[in-house]
């Protein structure tokens, strides 16, 4: 089980309380599709993904980004049981969606960059270190049920 110090929990909750799941989620997902274009293959039915502008403006991307970040919020409420929290989602991503878990790591890194752009100097090295740990364990939990 992953151990979280009081400081780490504070750094996570503090930042989470100040961000919009919809905005950050939409931005992170859009960047994933733009920076790593092969990820678009998982979103065939999303309509127009033909350019960065199209992707950023795409309502399905926004909606799905929000869904992803909201789910992330669940992780934050359950830091002591991430594997349990993501058990069903892990099965879904493996069995139905066929997503290589490496993509979770990519999205995690992108989320970090989105946070850095939003919070600027407040996104301190300590903050980054804690959040890199968080996205890492979330990615790990999401990969846990793969077979």
């Amino acid at each position: 089980m992953v151990h979280w110090s009081a400081e780490e929990k504070q750094l996570i909750a503090g930042l989470w309380g100040r961000l919009s799941a919809e905005q950050c989620g939409a931005e992170a997902l859009a960047r994933l599709l733009i920076v790593y274009p092969w990820t678009q293959r998982f979103f065939d039915n999303f309509g127009n993904l033909s350019s960065p502008t199209a992707i950023v403006g795409n309502p399905k991307v926004r909606a799905h980004g929000r869904k992803v970040l909201t789910s992330f919020g669940e992780a934050i409420k359950n830091l002591d049981n991430l594997k349990g929290t993501f058990s069903k989602l892990s099965e879904l991503h493996c069995d139905k969606l066929h997503v290589d878990p490496e993509n979770f790591r990519l999205l995690g890194d992108i989320l970090i960059i989105v946070l850095a752009a939003h919070f600027s100097k407040d996104f301190t090295p300590a903050c980054q270190a804690t959040w890199q740990k968080l996205v890492g364990v979330v990615a790990h939990a999401l990969a846990h049920k793969y077979h």
Partner: protein, 144 residues
Amino acid sequence: MLTAEDKKLIQQIWGKLSGAEEEIGAEALYRMFHAYPPTKTYFPHFDLSQGSDQIRGHGKKVVAALGNAIKNMDNLSQALSELSNLHAYNLLAVLSPVFALQFLSQCLQVVLATRLGKEYSPEVHSAVDKFMSAVAAVLAEKYR
């Protein structure tokens, strides 16, 4: 492959950061050591506290090398040739250069994003990410 547009974006962004190279390099390195503790194993002889002379000095070197690469984006292989040799033969055993450099790339991008905010747009993000991948690939060329 870096497109003409990518190269333009990178040069623009780099131009905006002129003068702050040492700080950016130092911060990127410090963030890397803090977020990815295993990277510290490559610098056992360094004082890794925030703002240390060695981190500032090395950060400055790293950013200068990147700046040189940016001036020579059409021939990265040649521009980074010396460094590729250096990392391959002279430095302590770097197990997986591409892997290790991913962490530096992530941390450098975080520093750029904190400084540029919205200006670190998806297009700029994409161009920089591609550029850092290309740099890592060139540095890894000489390993084996």
